[in-house]
Subunit: 245 residues, 2 copies
C-alpha cells in the first residue's frame, strides 16, 4: 500500500467499513433524507461505506462515472485541470454533500480528500433505479443540485467580477456559514485547506491570497492565530467587503 502522502492512490485503496444508514451522521442532510426508516435496509444493500485518507483521490475528471457518493465526514476538494497545469477548484465539500456530478457518462471534476474522509457510495445504475423506487430521493436530488447550481453561480460572479479583496472576504464568509460556530461574538474558523487550494478556488495566486489576508489582518477584520485557523473579528465588515467594495 502507498505511503500516507501518496496523491495517486484512489478509493480502490480505501478501507471498507461496516457502517449503517440508520446511525449515519448525515442521515437528514444527504439525498437519502426522506427515505422511510423501514426502507433503510434496502438502501443499505446498494451502499458501500468507505474511509479514505487525506490527499487520496476519490474520482478523476473524465473517468467513466460508475459511482455517486455522499460525503459522510471529513472534507473534499473538487477541481478541474488544464493541460499546462493550471487548476480551478470548483468547490469544497463537507459532511452531507453529494459527490459525483457527471456530464453524460464522465465525471466533470476530480475529487480529492482534504482530510481523512468517510463516504458512502452507490453504483450509478442502481442509483437511477433508486430514483424510480423512492420518488423522495428524486425530489431531494433536484433540491440539492439546484442549491449546488446556485452556489456555482455565486462562484461565477466571484471569479468573473470580484476583486481579490472581495474574493477572499467572500471565501471567509462562505466557510463561516458552512463550518463556523460563533463563541460569544468571536468566531474561529478552521481552515482545512492550504494557500494553494484557496488560491485555486478564488482564481488568484497564493501570493495575492497571502497579501490580502495580511491586509484584512492589518484592518482588524481578522486575526490569523496559525496557518490552520482564521479568527473573524468583524463579520459585518467582512460581509460588506464580500459583496460591495
Amino acid at each position: 500500500m502507498a505511503p500516507f502522502d501518496s496523491g495517486k492512490s484512489t478509493w480502490k485503496n480505501a478501507a471498507l467499513l461496516d457502517a449503517t444508514c440508520v446511525d449515519c451522521d448525515v442521515r437528514n442532510t444527504a439525498f437519502c433524507d426522506g427515505v422511510p426508516e423501514r426502507e433503510l435496509a434496502r438502501l443499505e444493500t446498494l451502499a458501500t461505506f468507505l474511509e479514505i485518507r487525506s490527499g487520496e483521490t476519490i474520482i478523476n475528471e473524465a473517468d467513466p462515472s460508475e459511482f455517486i457518493f455522499n460525503v459522510t465526514g471529513g472534507a473534499v476538494k473538487l477541481y478541474k485541470l488544464m493541460a499546462d497545469g493550471r487548476r480551478q477548484i470548483t468547490g469544497f465539500l463537507f459532511a452531507g454533500s453529494f459527490l459525483g456530478v457527471s456530464d453524460h457518462s464522465e465525471y466533470a471534476y476530480t475529487a480529492e480528500a482534504l482530510a481523512p474522509t468517510s463516504l458512502c457510495r452507490f453504483p450509478r445504475k442502481k442509483f437511477e433505479s433508486l430514483l424510480a423506487e423512492f420518488p423522495t430521493i428524486g425530489q431531494r436530488m433536484v433540491s440539492i443540485l439546484m442549491d449546488d447550481l446556485a452556489g456555482a453561480q455565486n462562484q461565477m460572479l466571484l471569479l468573473g467580477r470580484k476583486t481579490a479583496r472581495e474574493r477572499v472576504a467572500s471565501f471567509l464568509v462562505l466557510l463561516s456559514t458552512r463550518t463556523g460556530k460563533k463563541e460569544q461574538g468571536r468566531e474561529v474558523l478552521p481552515i482545512p485547506m492550504n494557500r494553494v487550494d484557496i488560491a485555486d478556488f478564488l482564481g488568484l495566486t497564493i501570493e495575492t491570497v497571502s497579501r490580502t489576508l495580511t491586509s484584512l489582518k492589518k484592518d482588524n477584520i481578522i486575526t490569523i492565530p496559525d496557518g490552520g485557523h482564521i479568527e473573524i473579528l468583524d463579520s459585518d465588515e467582512l460581509a460588506a467587503i464580500s459583496e460591495h467594495l
Copy 2:
C-alpha cells in the same frame, strides 16, 4: 403596454398561447421527455405557454421562486448583479433548456430574453408533485441539472484561470456546439447577444472582447461579416486556443 425595448417588463405582460405538449418543439430534449404520450394531457393541465419579447425579464434574482420554465424557443440570458452594477452572466439558454434554478425558495439569477422567446411554465409546487407522479421527470431533471452543473464548472475554470484569448475562443467553441451548423467546412455562427453580454459572460470588458476578436480575425481564425455573425475559419485552432495557450 410597454414599447418594444422595455427592460422592466416581465412575463406578466407576456402573451399567453394555446400551445400543446404534443406538438412541442422541445418535446424530446426538455425535462418532460419520458412522460408517456397518453399522460401529456395531464401535463398540459399544469403548464402555461408564454411568448415574450426581446429584452423582457422572465424572473428576477431573489424573487420567490413560484414557477419553473422550459425554454421552447428563442434565447435567454441569466445573470447576477452586484450592488454597484457589476454583472456576471452565468449562462445563455436556448430551446430545450430548463429555467428557474433556486436556492431554497428564491431564484438564483435574473433571466431575460435575448430574442423573442417562447416558454412553458409550471407552478413550482405542482412541479414537485409531478416528480412524485412521473419518476422519469425526476431522472431527467437530475440529468439536466448535472449537465448544467458540469457546464458551470467549465465556466468556473474559464473565469478563474483562462486568459482573455482563451475565454473568447472557448465562448465561440461553446456557441458552435450549441447553435452551430457546418456548411462544407465553413461555419457561420449567429451571435444573438451583444458585446456587453459577451463581456459580462466571460468576465471581461467590451474593449477586451473587441480587441480579442480583432486579433483572432488578424490570425485568420475567424471573420466577422457583421455584428450579429462570426464565421469560424479554423475550428481546430480555435479549440486548441480554448484549452491551452
